[in-house]
């Protein structure tokens, strides 16, 4: 009974982290592809997207099996360190956005900027190099974050298959919704999702860093839930504190 409880705790956190991280990255990639497709034509947009997916698949094929052969304590320490940094970066950005110190990530605005940038580059040709590169870069860079999240979380938890499936479901779901609603991706509560991902990544980062350094966590995987609770409270306190202290500071440009 205890074993079942601890396993499901880790799985729930893993599924949540991978799903939300992949969904957020997919929203960002899709915004760029939609802007490219609507402005310069779908052929080059799809070619760029396809090529980026092939490049990402090649990366997974090369690094995925290699990671399995790394000693588990070393892997968990490295993954823990990376997730700790990555998670704190996400959480920091989400806190700054929630407290008004940084502008919210606005997909409509990004869409308009991308369209304007592409239109400024002049008329399209049959083989649109600009559209191809833009779609490729958008999908590859956002996808790379998905790959890193899936590989690090999946291999450390010995659940690479589950992590990959969850990532595929998230990408597919956002893809379908994105195509259906076309340009209205700004309705996605992106900052709340990013904040949740940040909390989950820092929690996993804390957990794996400790595991990699032979720390024995009380309750094993259940400690993950305690970390999630701790970082949720800390995030909330920081947002409240920043809102109270800096009510007049206006937003800066979204990164």
């Amino acid at each position: 009974m205890f074993f079942a409880t601890t396993v499901s705790t880790g799985v729930v956190v893993l599924v949540g982290a991978v799903f939300l991280a992949c969904a957020v990255e997919m929203v960002e990639a899709l915004t760029i592809v939609l802007a490219v497709g609507h402005t310069r034509g779908w052929r080059s947009a799809f070619e760029g997207t396809g090529m980026a997916l092939v490049a990402l698949a090649a990366l997974v094929a090369v690094f995925g099996p290699a990671l399995v052969h790394v000693p588990i304590s070393v892997l968990r320490l490295v993954v823990g360190g990376v997730l700790l940094i990555f998670g704190m970066q996400w959480l920091r950005k989400a806190i700054l956005r929630a407290s008004g110190l940084k502008a919210l990530h606005n997909e409509d605005e990004i869409y308009r900027e991308t369209v304007a940038e592409l239109k400024a580059l002049g008329s399209r040709v049959d083989r649109d190099h600009v559209a191809f590169v833009m779609a490729f870069k958008g999908v590859f860079l956002e996808g790379l974050e998905v790959v890193i999240t899936v590989l690090t979380l999946g291999t450390s938890a010995h659940r690479l298959g589950l992590a990959t499936t969850v990532a595929a479901v998230a990408v597919l779901l956002v893809g379908i919704v994105g195509v259906v609603v076309a340009k209205q991706l700004s309705n996605v509560p992106e900052n709340a999702m990013k904040m949740s991902v940040g909390v989950l990544l820092v929690s996993y980062g804390t957990f794996w860093t400790g595991e990699g350094l032979k720390v024995k966590w009380p309750g094993n995987d259940v400690a993950l839930l305690l970390f999630v609770a701790l970082y949720v409270v800390v995030t909330w306190l920081l947002v409240v504190m920043l809102r109270r202290e800096t009510p007049s500071i206006s937003s800066e440009v979204a990164a």
């Binding site: 110190l101 400790g210 350094l213 800096t246």
Partner: protein
């Protein structure tokens, strides 16, 4: 005039730049904090066998690093 670099060199540079941006970027304090956390916990857990201290100190250091980084961003925003 700059000499054009070969493809392997450009790929290697791009790979290095990606990881630099990914791990350090505009928040070097978080990168340094992660290294400090690993160092301190290694001392407590591996060298000192202070498991209970490591359990408390690890999340505490992470929370402190996040708070310092957020405060740093707040100060930067005030200066603008």
């Amino acid at each position: 005039m700059t000499k054009k670099q070969s493809l392997p060199v450009r790929l290697l540079k791009g790979f290095g730049m990606f990881w630099w941006d990914f791990l350090v970027g505009d928040t070097p304090e978080l990168f340094i904090a992660a290294l400090v956390i690993i160092g301190v916990i290694a001392l407590l857990s591996l060298a000192g066998h202070f498991n209970a201290a490591a359990v408390v100190v690890l999340p505490l250091l992470a929370v402190s690093a996040l708070t310092v980084s957020v405060r740093r961003a707040q100060r930067a925003a005030r200066r603008k």
